[in-house]
Symmetry: C2
Subunit: 311 residues, 2 copies
């Protein structure tokens, strides 16, 4: 893909071609040289999509909920994009793609675009690549963008938190370690969902989550509701969509929507600038000398870091 062909795909019209859009997303994943030009061109086209993040532990039913929400928004006539962000890249490749099998009922719908994404060569990692992918899907005219991540690490929690509305999925009867991870996820939750709510201990989990929310310092004016679903049968999906709409309206009326978008841009710019700084520092020929001295115990690591930064 040459510079010319990549930039020629960036008009909103061209991005309606799924193959052109897929090429743009590959450019983002790979951190290809034409990416800066591409992003600068896409910037004015974006800003219209509603971005909904979904996260939760493995096995919480994220793809089933994503599938159900895709169907619900399609029923209203909205074009829907699904971005499944793969945290363990570059190793896993096909893992989340495998989950996408469940989404096959949307595979023939030209108004649904589904993409798994890693951050293969992207400077700044997922924290920089994900907002750029969202920008591309937004510029391509999708009214709803569902961003699905596995909530296993801080980076993934951050990616989920890039959305206008973040949905955190829990499952009844989680063990202690998962409860702990959930505590990290709770910080970014706008709407909580206890999926697999037909299990006997579902109400216990709902009570636990409500108790945690009661204790936490949430942003003024919005208290995350706790919904129950059985995604495989569709139970609770209508009510979940109603809560998502309620949050979307609150974002607009409170001014929080604009505030979050500026915060998202801030994080993106910072991730990029840090990525560039990292590349510069890592490629310094001085680093090897300093490492040998620190390993030998003849230089403190802070002195070494200060030396490296000053080169």
């Amino acid at each position: 893909v040459s510079d010319t062909s990549a930039t020629s795909t960036t008009s909103a019209e061209r991005l309606r071609d799924p193959r052109a859009l897929a090429r743009v997303l590959s450019v983002i994943e790979d951190g290809s040289p034409q990416l800066p030009t591409l992003m600068n061109e896409l910037a004015p086209l974006a800003g219209n999509a509603r971005v909904i993040g979904l996260t939760g532990a493995p096995g919480a039913g994220k793809s089933t909920i994503t599938d159900a929400l895709t169907a619900a928004f399609r029923a209203r006539g909205a074009r829907v994009a699904v971005l499944a962000v793969d945290p363990t890249s570059p190793f896993t490749g096909g893992a989340l793609l495998g989950d996408r099998v469940r989404m096959q009922r949307h595979a023939t719908d030209p108004d649904v675009f589904i993409r798994s994404m890693a951050s293969r060569g992207h400077l700044g990692g997922l924290s920089a690549a994900a907002p750029q992918a969202i920008r591309a899907l937004d510029a391509a005219g999708f009214a709803v963008i569902l961003v699905e991540t596995v909530g296993v690490g801080q980076a993934e929690v951050e990616v989920a938190g890039m959305a206008d509305t973040t949905v955190v999925l829990a499952v009844p009867g989680m063990g202690d370690s998962v409860q702990a991870a959930k505590a990290g996820l709770l910080e970014v939750a706008d709407v909580l969902v206890v999926n697999k709510a037909d299990r006997p201990d579902a109400q216990h989990t709902v009570r636990d989550l409500r108790a945690m929310i009661a204790l936490a310092p949430w942003s003024e004016g919005w208290k995350p509701p706790v919904e129950t679903t059985v995604a495989t049968t569709g139970e609770g999906i209508d009510e979940l969509v109603r809560q998502l709409d309620r949050h979307w309206d609150w974002l607009a009326s409170s001014g929080e929507r604009d505030r979050r978008r500026v915060a998202r841009a801030r994080d993106e710019i910072l991730a990029m600038a840090v990525g560039a700084a990292t590349r510069r520092l890592a490629s310094s020929p001085r680093l090897a000398e300093l490492a040998a001295q620190v390993a030998a115990g003849t230089l403190g690591p802070y002195e070494a870091a200060a030396d490296l930064a000053s080169v």
Copy 2:
């Protein structure tokens, strides 16, 4: 804790007092102002310990294996430190500490030191905090340092890979998503352990892992063995220790031990320098203006990042 009291705890003799050592580790976690001085003082005292990393998915039996290895090295008379690195900090706090209940048989042994660690305020996160904690434990005279992490994200895999020898734990009958994560873990494995090997599908997992190892491009001269254990009964622990010793000898004879220690110092210095750059960029008053323009679509994110870096 004032500068004076912290630095007065840094002689090797003083660090034999567990309370003094605990204070030093808190200084590392918190990224307190006296940390650079402290690290520069500890640097010449370190370099003698044998560092063994243990990682694997939640539920793989890491703490049980850690407990068994602690007992095995204690039986040889070695002083043993256990560092349990908590990836989901600052949210989880007590989670891994809870697991430490299993280690209680060593709680009254003055030659075993156990510590859970987050990276609360540390500039550079776990990637910088973990090697500093290892340095402190090393300087305190522990012959063996077991570094236990949950293998859920890239940062944790990196922490496990900081060791001289990295042990990756697998469990029979993992699902697809765990298999995928395992693929990331395999890259850092020196020794693989299939724990809970009394389960019927254990040999299947062993075969899977051996097949993956056969395909992977391992470092010359060392092919990761796949061991089976039932950590709760101690089955297979002697053979695991034998493999760890074999790897330790190979590290010395091949020159790989020094190479790894220099690489570890390199990563540590880089994480610190990047942490400092991140703090500088994040605190720039220009960032808010740039974020507003990118959010409004009037400026591309790459132009904004370049602008930020140039301030």
